[in-house]
């Protein structure tokens, strides 16, 4: 069943187009993540929950039980976690007592603590618990993992799992694609000009064979630079400058610090050339410089995340299938 269907939705705010060309079907139990800015996200949530109507296009909603959570939303800081959640239990139609679900949201340590004394990790989980009590059909959440610690992320993801088991469909938006990769299976990027574009994450196994077929002869090329053409100039990067390479809509983007530079080569070509410089294909869309990796974190049984040195915000996914390969390479 489709919970909400958007057809060519456009929305203007203060005579400025914020959202344009949005086509999306939110199916029941789908796990969608959308990369968009905060302003876009807020407006998008209001559209989905039916608070405002689109400037043009259509939104068909099968359910009215939509709940949106934006980053700014606050908690009653003077209440205890228990008091807060019991209040929302009273105004919702939730049948059983919240006490039974403390473990799912890992809040037993702070159940009697005032909310103002909680860490941001715990507050996020209290928020999630509250939304669980309201038990909407469709839940919209904006950047829940931003500023959380690694343990915070791990426990949050556990809570998300619980919500999904309770038949709540969750749609996440965030400014960071890395965050969405942890939270959802279908990831879209929103571009102001062209609308939503699906990121090619799902097909994973297929290109592996191609790479293995390529003859692996080691050329004596000690010098190699990756080039990026920008308008009238070509920039060369030494492999050791590069943090990682990300494929965005089939274009390989070289990421250095906070900046992206497009490259003409495909991911497979780059992998072939940079392999001997210590680059590793950790995911279908990512080629990472292993010299820059500082941590390997496992949030759940089947997902691993690589964290870069000096830039802990960047979290790259590592497929389970490639973990063994990486173990061999680095030898740990």
């Amino acid at each position: 069943m489709n919970l909400v269907t958007l057809e060519n939705v456009m929305k203007q705010k203060n005579n400025r187009t914020v959202l344009k060309g949005i086509d999306l079907m939110i199916e029941e139990y789908s796990q969608i993540g959308i990369k968009m800015s905060r302003e876009e996200s807020e407006l998008f949530f209001e559209l989905l929950s039916g608070k405002i109507t689109p400037s043009s296009g259509h939104i068909y909603r099968e359910t009215n039980s939509v709940l949106a959570d934006i980053r700014e939303d606050g908690l009653y800081e003077n209440l205890t976690v228990q008091g807060y959640l019991n209040f929302f239990k009273k105004i919702s139609d939730f049948e059983s007592s919240p006490e039974g679900y403390i473990a799912a949201f890992s809040l037993s340590d702070v159940w009697q603590t005032k909310i103002k004394r909680l860490t941001i990790d715990q507050m996020r989980r209290v928020s999630m618990f509250r939304m669980f009590l309201m038990s909407p059909k469709l839940l919209l959440i904006e950047s829940p993992l931003t500023n959380l610690t690694d343990e915070g992320i791990e426990l949050y993801l556990k809570g998300v799992e619980h919500l999904r088991n309770a038949k709540i469909t969750i749609l996440f938006t965030s400014h960071y694609i890395e965050e969405l990769l942890l939270l959802s299976k279908e990831v879209y990027r929103y571009y102001p000009q062209t609308g939503l574009q699906k990121t090619d994450l799902a097909i994973e196994a297929e290109p592996d064979d191609e790479i293995k077929d390529e003859p692996k002869e080691i050329k004596p090329s000690i010098v190699y630079k990756v080039s990026s053409k920008l308008e009238d100039k070509t920039i060369f990067f030494s492999p050791d400058e590069i943090d990682f390479i990300e494929s965005i809509n089939s274009v390989s983007n070289i990421r250095i610090g906070e900046e992206y530079f497009p490259s003409d080569l495909t991911m497979n070509e780059l992998e072939g050339k940079l392999g001997k410089f210590g680059f590793f294909r950790c995911h279908r869309s990512y080629l990472i410089n292993l010299q820059r990796v500082s941590e390997l974190v496992s949030y759940s049984k089947n997902s691993y995340t690589l964290i870069l040195k000096g830039n802990p915000k960047v979290k790259l996914p590592l497929s389970r299938s490639r973990l063994e390969e990486m173990k061999e390479l680095i030898g740990f």
Binding site: L67, G74, N78, L79, F88, I91
Partner: protein, 247 residues
């Protein structure tokens, strides 16, 4: 709009808890009693009637206490929590959690009203008059009406302001006019006439009456109370419709 008693009850309990935990707001009614006690010890007990001007210490104390409690306390106890909820972004969460405006306002009005009425009754012995000498139903009716008017004014301020500082600023001139009523009416006849048309004026009339033999209902007082109530309610509904709660 469907109004659920269960939700009103839940909001009532929440608001009572938050109100009692909010020191800056809950202190105003306590101050009302405190100030009356202090002034009772400072002002000599006089009952003068010269050239038509009467000054009864007890009446002045009761009037002052009532206006302090109902005027300052009532307005700040209803405006600050709304402004605080807006400032801390908790109101949006509530309004998207299947609570509607009517439930929210009724649920949060009740604890304020209960605290105000409790202090109104406590002010009777504090200002030095016996419970037996007071027409209780009249006293309760008038103070309750005035309290509700104050709460409505507080809601209007809460809705139009974005945070607590702004709520304090917007409320200031209104509070100043209300609380200066009992003082000025002693000094200036014309101001006294004007003040008769405010609900604070009615409260002073009430306390004057109680200390000089018994309060008598007058058409002016009742129409002033009804008028203020109707105007405030209308303004409140208008502001709520225009601004809403969650922005």
């Amino acid at each position: 709009m469907k109004v659920s008693l269960k939700k009103i009850n839940a909001i009532f309990q929440l608001k009572l808890q938050l109100l009692l935990g909010n020191m800056s707001v809950i202190l105003t009614p306590v101050f009302a009693i405190g100030f009356v006690l202090i002034m009772k010890n400072l002002i000599p007990e006089v009952n003068v009637e010269e050239e038509g001007v009467t000054f009864l210490t007890g009446a002045f104390l009761l009037g002052f206490g009532l206006i302090f409690n109902i005027g300052i306390g009532g307005v700040s106890m209803s405006s600050h929590p709304i402004a605080e909820e807006k400032e801390k972004n908790t109101l949006r969460v509530l309004m998207t959690s299947s609570v509607n405006g009517v439930e929210y306002f009724i649920g949060s009005m009740l604890p304020t009203l209960i605290i105000l009425m409790l202090v109104n009754v406590l002010l009777i012995p504090v200002s030095g008059i016996a419970f037996g000498d007071i027409q209780m139903p009249t006293y309760l009716l008038i103070t309750a009406a005035a309290s509700i008017i104050s709460i409505l004014i507080g809601y209007i301020i809460g809705i139009v302001s974005k945070n607590q500082t702004q709520a304090g600023l917007v409320g200031m001139p209104i509070l100043l006019v209300l609380t200066s009523a009992p003082l000025f009416r002693i000094y200036n006849e014309m101001i006294a006439d004007v003040l008769n048309y405010t609900y604070a004026g009615v409260l002073t009339n009430l306390s004057q009456g109680l200390f000089s033999g018994g309060y008598e209902w007058s058409l002016l007082d009742s129409s002033v109370l009804i008028g203020w109530f109707v105007v405030c309610l209308g303004l409140f509904v208008y502001v709520y419709k225009r601004n809403g709660l969650d922005r």
